[in-house]
Amino acid sequence: MTFHDQTSAVRGANRREILTSVGAGGFTLAFSMASRAEAQDDVAKPLNAYVTVAPNGQVTILAKSPDVGQGVKTMLPMLIAEELDVAWEDVRIEMAPNDPKTYGRQFAGGSMATPMHWEDLRRVGAVARAMLIQAAATAWNCGPGDCTTVPGEVIHKPSGKKRTYGSLAMACANVTPPDPKTVALKDAKDYRIVGKPVVQYDTARIVTGQPLFGIDQRRPGMLYATYVKAPVFGAKVASADLEAAKAVKGVKAAFIVAGADDAFAPAGGHIGQGLMPGVAVVADNWWAAKKGRDKLNVKWAEHPTGAQSSKGYAEQAAALNAGKPLRNARNDGDVDAALKGAAKTVEAAYAYPFLSHANLEPQNCTAEFKDGKLEVWAPTQFPEPGRQLCAKTLGMKPEDITVNMVRGGGGFGRRLANDYMVEAAWIAREAKAPVKLVWTREDDMQHDHYRPAGFHFFKGGLDAQGNLTALQDHFVTFASGTGPTAPSAGMSAAEFPARFVPNLRYDVSTIPLGVPTGPLRAPGSNALAFAFQSFIDEMAHAAGADPLAFQIKLLGDKDVVGEAPAAYAAGRMRGVLKAVGEMSGWANRGKLPKGEGMGVACYYSHQGYFAEVAHVAVSAEGAVKAKKVWVAADVGRQIINPHGALNQVQGSVLDGISEALHQQITIANGAAEQSNFTDYPLMRISEACPVEVKFLKTEFNPTGLGEPALPPAIPALTNAIFAATGKRVRSLPITPDMLKA
């Protein structure tokens, strides 16, 4: 697609604004407005919940799930457009309404868009195409078997007659859609859109700065809000100088919000918090609201979490490890006997910190009440739980609440929670005006649902031949709310290398936690990969083995180990390990200069098999420079949008390196100590290295790419540091002090 083609995208986007400005009065209205705007008097009915063909030939496809940078607003409609058989340039994309009854679960998470929709959305397109063919066959008085399509047109094969899709659009109202299970799908060799690099639909607006994101929303008569919450998570407001805030020019309202009693862990299984206690300031621009906020002098009530700290957690972890574990999660063979009889044993303690999502677009939401109904515009990854949370908290019926999905400036799991949505809704109702709530960066970093910290106490044993015969992990993690572990703080009993080591024990202990936690890109895996893949690398070095060969040997000779849903395709992992070895020139790593090294790691998550090699240089002062990373990936037989796929993998790898080199949230006196990019640095361009990616084409159904490239990047880096320096990184983030010569 060229830059010129993108002008059509801009026009489509303008129309979306028209729709927004009349209000999302439901699906039918949206369609009738759309066709009226494009086709004057003619009104084409949608062919199905996703596809409308207007009489002028314009094709509108709805994007089912929110886009936070993972590219699904483009990728999911590509699947429909492929089987519908239209030219991509003729496609306009609109966000679908939040309507799980029609669309099923609408969310951005778990790298699930591809595996969930690869089959069903192609069938959506194929059904619409079959309807257009049927309408043409009826007009030509022939059977549908006499017809085929080229992009945008039905062709009568015997005569070569043609009808455009647009000319058939009205007649489709009389066509009964076929059963989706019965429609034929294209052979992959005939794809015109899938597998081709497609520029994101929103790119035209992104590069020209047009309104697009949550923070860009605007309503008539809208006010701007800020909301201050306690540094200690969940503490209530004791007092606030509301009058001082109201005295600031432009401030319209200032009030205390008591918050929900179960704000910290709302009932109903929502990820993240409900309405937290705080103080709202509402003004006619955001800066005025912020100035009002700065006058509030809020006093916070005492809260038990005020006694918690990262230092305390580390002390508790060490104490817990010295005692009997709280519970056993897996116990294969006889670990104690195997360790006793081992030719060599290794013990190591690993730790990783809390992390913030640090979406570059701070949390925000726009909310408006009209005639007792609530409409919100939110950069959420999961709109329906937000709607339910608003309904419960505000005492409304869910059907009286409309949630519009708008583009999010980064997701990474943070926006699976909807705390900002319920805050905006509450503040708009109190303020009796449409309100845009925008968190400060400091609010965002200090009121995250953090990637949980964790501690692993490993023991491993090798036999005389250098085989890993015993492995033990005492995982000290956190518990909050009613679950056995805090959100995203658990570990599967099938965690690798379970099932590949004959004597293996996983024990778990927990520390009570008053800090909110939640999923961060590749949740669980982003931390576990570091600990386990580093320790396996330690065992390889203890065995005197080539770490890559050791990993391949550990995977055994079976193709698949275990049963679904915990099956592990060892053959696929061996495949990516071998590929990354070849790509990276692993065999020649001995020729690297002093202070440089290569490390390898592999990890299976989100249905994808990834092996990565990192090449690093470490200075005498302990500064780490990643020079290059190679990635071999197996996500099945088809990459849907190569443009987006490569971007996701490269970004995931650099994101992982950024976490390892820089990031940590520490807790002191029950509050996050970091508050902005000055003390929570992210990678910058000068640190970004080339990332070479190879997708292995295998026979499996395609799976997602938002997450699985991240986890192995971190241990590949730390294992490379060991190769370069002989120093083992056992806690994150990496500091120069750990690595000084």
Binding site: F3, Q6, V68, G69, Q70, G71, P197, V199, Q200, D202, T203, A204, I206, V207, T208, G209, Q210, P211, L212, F213, I215, D216, R218, N285, W286, W287, A288, K291, A358, N359, L360, E361, P362, R407, G408, G409, G410, F412, V438, T440, R441, H643, G644, N647, Q648, Q650, G651, L654, D655, S658, N676, F677, T678, L682, M683, R684, I685, A688, P690, V691
Partner: protein, 154 residues
């Protein structure tokens, strides 16, 4: 009070307190929402605009200090001889993931290329290091700058 500002070649009026950062006057009062809020402390570059051609963090510029300076925002880049090339390169390579930082990236890249038409990697690092991309699209940002400047991309 009302401040008259020159934004993208046009005189516009913003009735705000003088200490209001240019960022918020642009976004909330004047409707130029392409300029983004990311950190408020000049640490992320999302709010980068040109002030008389120089890339500046608009979150740190009080409106009262702007005076007659010419402000350019992302909305004005299509009419900027270098800016439009940068936008085209950004589109052709589809640099963005979430896209939130990219207005600031494009403003910094445009200012760089206006001054240094064929930047080296080191010059790119220096000019672009103030702009965070949380999605880490740095490989493509570098390639797009090379493309816009007519240099080999890798």
């Amino acid at each position: 009070m009302a401040y008259t500002l020159n934004v993208n070649g046009k005189a516009v009026s913003a009735d705000v307190d003088g200490d209001t950062p240019l960022l918020w006057a642009l976004r909330d009062t004047l409707g130029f929402v392409g300029t983004k809020y990311g950190c408020g402390v000049a640490a992320c570059g999302a709010c980068t605009v040109h002030v008389d051609g120089q890339p500046m963090r608009s979150c740190q510029i009080p409106v009262e200090s702007v005076g007659k300076a010419k402000i350019s925002t992302i909305e004005g880049m299509a009419a900027h001889p270098v800016g439009k090339k940068v936008q085209a390169a950004w589109t052709e390579l589809d640099v963005a993931q979430c896209g939130y930082c990219q207005a600031g990236q494009i403003m910094s890249a445009t200012a760089l290329l206006a001054k240094t038409p064929k930047p080296t990697d080191a010059q790119i690092d220096e000019a672009m290091n103030g702009n965070i991309c949380r999605c880490a699209t740095y490989v493509r940002i570098r390639a797009a700058i090379k493309r816009a400047s007519g240099q080999k991309e890798v």
